[in-house]
Symmetry: C2
Subunit: 337 residues, 2 copies
């Protein structure tokens, strides 16, 4: 493949996920890294290869000026990995769309923003269509195991009475930011305060629930959400945090959806240090029953980067607009060599 045919990619956000993505982009012949954006002053002007632990310089230096990078480098696709809150990242997404780029973002609240943030969703959809481009929220969760997979798994059913998805993640195998997000190492009191302030828990669980409901055509009349601590049964220490026995090891986060007053959807997410049996389990009560298990669970950060990279071709094929994981051709690994 000649250089002129490569897909021009900008990496927007250089946390652990963004840096893993950089390593992938640089290793692939079908992709060309044309820019990198991050606001961290310690990263500014550094070569992204260096930041990613690669020896050979890439020639791409980190900039904190998104509009300049996007305007000069004219990417086909932006991989966006800066945050979970749609309100926070909204201006960044608009910069990308204004530059005519297609966007794959790990922002959990972008998975299906039409329900909870209809005004922002409308603006993103309008801008993408104006610029004949597309954007999508993608990731392993939200975006795959607790929603998209559940939607496809319902295909053989003549009737669906309820869907339950259970995800157990051993947070000790994950990046530091995730360990902090689940409250590892906090006292119970601190955990409760963090939950009240909206600082702890998994962003996007509601979006996953709404995506399943929308996928199979259910109108929900009520949705509830509950975040509880999982306490450490013993002292533990990871690269990023240390937890004493009785302190918080992580979260148990449950989101329920009701239809005609019956519970029809239940997303049950446990992420804590030392979880013994990581698993993803989709159970559909109906005709026939479907019991789908990812043995060992879908492994964390690598899987997130995998989904991000694989959706590059997805978003390039998508019709213009704000898209979801279930409304254009099926997500899948794309061979590139």
């Amino acid at each position: 493949m000649s250089s002129s045919e490569r897909i021009r990619v900008v990496q927007y956000g250089l946390g652990p996920i963004g840096l893993m993505a950089i390593r992938q982009i640089l290793a692939r012949r079908d992709l060309e890294l044309v820019g990198a954006i991050d606001i961290d002053p310690k990263k500014r002007q550094r070569d992204v290869a260096d930041l990613s632990g690669l020896r050979r310089p890439s020639g791409i230096r980190v900039s904190d000026r998104p509009q300049e990078v996007l305007g000069v480098s004219r990417p086909h696709v932006v991989l966006h990995t800066t945050g979970s809150s749609l309100e926070d990242v909204f201006p960044q997404l608009i910069y990308c769309l204004e530059a005519g780029a297609r966007v794959v973002s790990t922002c959990e609240e972008l998975l299906l923003p039409t329900v909870q943030q209809p005004e922002l969703a409308k603006q993103l959809d309008r801008m993408s269509k104006l610029k004949s481009t597309a954007l999508i929220g993608a990731g392993v969760n939200s975006g795959f195991v607790m929603d998209t997979m559940a939607v496809l798994a319902s295909s053989p059913c003549l009737e669906v009475r309820s869907i339950r998805v259970e995800r157990v993640v051993d947070a000790s195998t994950r990046r530091g930011s995730l360990q902090h997000k689940v409250g590892a190492g906090l006292l119970l009191k601190e955990f409760r305060r963090g939950v009240r302030k909206g600082e702890l828990g998994h962003k996007g669980l509601r979006e996953s629930l709404y995506l399943v409901a929308e996928g199979i055509g259910w109108k929900l009349d009520n949705v509830t959400e509950r975040i509880q601590p999982v306490l450490a049964g013993r002292s533990m220490r990871t690269k990023y945090v240390s937890v004493k026995k009785g302190q918080v090891a992580g979260i148990h986060h449950v989101c329920r959806g009701f239809r005609n007053r019956k519970e029809v959807l239940n997303l049950d997410l446990q992420m804590y240090l030392g979880a013994k049996k990581p698993v993803d389990r989709i159970s559909i009560k109906g005709t026939p029953e479907v019991n789908l298990v990812f043995e060992g669970g879908v492994a964390g950060d690598e899987a997130t980067v995998g989904l991000l990279l694989n959706m590059i071709y997805g978003v390039l094929d998508a019709p213009a607009g704000l898209r979801t994981m279930i409304d254009f051709p099926m997500p899948r690994f794309r061979a590139w060599e």
Copy 2:
């Protein structure tokens, strides 16, 4: 929903799957049965409700004249369940398309006919586009567990080295035609003759293999197929067949795909009477590994009918042409009440 908004459906083929579909169509408010076609003289002119074991007459009588039924009833969608061989059912599909109907068919060879029957595929695609309609091959297998599911399951992978799908079906829980198709009750000699003549084995396993390869963008340089008997360890009897110890209980059918001389795809299908642990298992070697299991397997004929019915909305939404399970919005259960 008012009667005028219902989806007009013709059921083409009234074997066990077709009759199960009839019961579903008649039970649903969003669908209206407008015709039924079968060549069996014993079914001609009978009310389909009666044939399906329902008490209340439907007013729809079986006809063996497809063009007449399709021309008069003007269906939006035809559910087509007459056979596995594309060559055999080709004229029937053309009748449906000529009448402007969209078609969901359980014909296994229609799953991805472009590879092995490119000429027929081209004609079907051309006719669908000419008539602004669409057709698709769908079913639980081919169509779901051994192909579509494997494609979606690869989404988190940065790299895929190989994909193996194993399906174990207890044929004693399935319809008689399937028990005969797997050779249950035959002597070894008869089984071998049946395999040579192409009368035994699962049609569509190659198509499933090619669908996975096409889905993730692999060009295969070789494909092999092997059908072996599974012998009965004890005497068994079902509603449809009796098998003595040492006779054939079913098949072990394996299809392998090679790329750069390495085996990269392996579809392993066991369907026999008395199989102890029915299961569907998708194993992806790569980064990360993905191990997906349908515990207990995806239950047989109900699941096939479920897929058929659920794809009605899929094929109505699809762009004109010959489509596959992976190239338009994600298959899923569609709530209708």
